[in-house]
Symmetry: D3
Subunit: 190 residues, 6 copies
């Protein structure tokens, strides 16, 4: 029972650390001048909604619920590192960002459960179909928020438009279709 | 294919509506005077983390991934209604709040997928073990945020402390244990 | 004197509850993607300024000061319920929103004074000329904030533009004139 | 009619300027380190609620509705000047602040109506019983917000506590009673 | 040593007062409807970066480091007065604003050091080449922020565009060149 | 002249990037639960004020103006990387953070001037007395903000208190004295 006692305390510490995701901005938007940008928590939840929308249409079927679990945990190391912007991670030594995330995951997610750690590792390895699907949804969610900013009249986001255009979404047909709808909707903003 | 086309557009509309969860405050904290309170998105993500921590310890085993999917969708109607505070929902006619949520879920979540609608209904019915587990975690997450506010020096949150104390968490042993740790941690704040 | 003592305490509680109006967003703007939207307090004060501008021009004369008092109190139940968005109130059973507001007013405004409760009831009944005038100004104030958002370059507010266009402001000539100026100013934004 | 046309345009400009009251902080709280302080609009509305609570108890009776109109307009020049903090206004030449406000009122409030200008002047002159009553409520509202900050655990607000203690509220019995309740409530925070 | 002791305490008080610069908005942007505007601290730091960019190009050479020190201190009295908007300072008696700033500087900056007071006075007198250079950079920084707001899609900032256009930047060639680049960039926003 | 033309454009790009410092939070405070924390710009300006206060007292004399220039530029790479929290930088490979900053400085600060790049390098090398002095002030400024948070009633900042206590400030007598005053002031908060 003393083991359980300790374990519950660690859970609490981990959960408190993870609350920072609701206060930390998606740095890319902040650097592009968005005054009160989407939070990491908002991005994660929106990605989970996107997974819930598209995953059930994939053939052969995905394990949708596990894909959602991967989504829920995919950015959790950012509760300790913040959302490192592209500029910065590109200038780090090769592999440094991924190693950093793995180390944070080891100490932060082990406070939740072995399952939490396992789900994050599955996401990071990008080998299972579910993890590759979620990685695409993670990128496409940027397009959803981008569309909202563009429809709200915001300009100066061309880098994001290019990033979205360059994304290869062909691995999953429903993702590719949504990607193409998103592009059309963005073009109609101009 | 024209059906798919329509469906993708509906998905986009639903996702855009759901982004509001990252801007809408948990009203109870706002009414208690918290200046920049937790968002609904932050609450949902934190509840998912709590589920990921405790669900794997439950005996007999729960379907943890499905429990996470229930969590991810549980407050989604609030993207259209906002987080109706307790005062208000208690003064509505009996059943009005639940009916309101079901109607919103019908039109908002059908834009995502039948699975999304099904997961929300499972949560709302509170019949499956997973849904009852998630409902408890939803309530306990309030305690995690409460502890953070209390440790930050905030006072005037006695109603929340009472609500947490009155919660019956005995249905799942790991939840009950965490509940009791949380209570101790709160008492140590004074 | 013990009665007075109690009454002052109730006043304090009511005033503290009503401070939430300065923290609660006008939900419609938040749902439309405005990041840091107008507060309910800001809306109420702006409506009072509009009343102060137009009411003195009405023939036969209105009781302008009473109209301002109606304005000051008209959204006060939202300190307990938040600003229920249109989507949500339309999905509630017929009359449920108005009954909810009346119940909140009973318990919240009685902490201020019988006059406060009476002014809110006059507004809710919409029978006196002053109350009908204030109801129109409440709707037109949305147009003032809309114009500011549009002039600031914000897009994606077409629902609000339609709502304003559909408003029947013919009951009071100065209101109708202002309504028409507002429409022209909005058209000049494009 | 061309006169009316011009007048409506001026009204719009004035209303747009006055919307700034919902974005401008009460500077005193900001200087004392409150991160996201009460706005001027929030202060004005809360003062109006206080007037609505206490004015009906005054003997001989006040014109309560006119007192509310005075309240609604009392800080409107701050839409152009911001809320000049005490430090600054004390260092200005004698009478400079009041003259500044009168000049702003002349150009800003004339866009609303002659009545708006008249109500502000009545407030500024502080001769009528209603205006002196509102001036006291303006000061006491600071105490209401102070109490909320203190109950929330905030410290470092001793200057405000001293200011409230030093206030002479004896001219109106219900104000004096409320003042004393407020002081007791503040002492109970420690 | 007891003198040093006192001096350190004064330093602490002054530093704490000056922290308000990170919370106080540049009032002009707030009055123009920018929801979460640049802070005074952000403006000062950006001006220092502009000085660091342009000052090394000036012939005959400026004392660049001293110019930066002038920049760092130039708006410090606003920690007590807030950023008095143009409307307000134009309506104050002639010289009142400058006298106000001098008085605040006397009591606030003397808590830092004689050097701090001297640097502010050099800036206020506008006699040295460095001070005149910094005064121009202070005005041009408004143009940098303006460009960012315009590129972000914001409209309704014509007054600022006019102010920038009317600025005489001919006294220093690198400033004039930057001024002209800024104007071109602004014209390309339309 | 075409060279100058290019250089002015680069300056503009660099200045726009650097504006992000006014929107990016000091991550440590955010992770500790501060809702609306100090920005990087606020920290830099406050450190410059601290340098202006203490540097003139150092014997043998420092070049105070150059020390201020070092301060103004010391955190500028964070405009691209954000403020990497301690947890994260400790988990990066040895030297990775400093190398990252040097690379960012190369591309970001060269847009300002060679002097800007030189001042940053002097700071990063930590060899000159001025740079070592500024590094201490950078750490002590954390203590000033910490004191403000503690006086405001905030709790849960023990890590920061420990960090401040462990700082070796003995290299410069005025810094050591200020450090000790700060510690006393913090102890008086309890």
């Amino acid at each position: 029972m003393s083991i359980n006692h300790t374990s519950a305390l660690n859970t609490l510490s981990a959960l408190i650390s993870l609350l920072a995701l609701d206060r930390l901005p998606r740095t890319g938007w902040a650097l592009a001048g968005v005054e009160d940008p989407e939070t990491i928590a908002g991005h994660v939840l929106s990605t989970a909604h996107l997974v819930l929308a598209l995953a059930p249409q994939v053939e052969p079927p995905l394990d949708v619920d596990r894909a959602i679990a991967l989504t829920v945990i995919h950015d959790s190391p950012e509760a300790w590192t913040g959302d490192l912007p592209k500029h910065a991670s590109e200038l780090l030594p090769h592999g440094a960002k991924r190693e950093l995330e793995a180390r944070v995951a080891d100490s932060l997610l082990s406070g939740l459960s072995q399952l939490a750690r396992a789900r994050h590792e599955e996401y990071a390895r990008a080998e299972s179909r579910e993890s590759r699907f979620v990685r695409l949804c993670d990128k496409l969610q940027l397009g959803v928020q981008l569309l909202v900013y563009r429809r709200a009249g915001r300009r100066g986001l061309d880098d994001f438009i290019e990033t979205l255009k360059a994304l290869d979404s062909s691995a999953f047909a429903p993702v590719a279709l949504f990607h193409s709808e998103l592009q059309s909707a963005l073009e109609n903003c101009d």
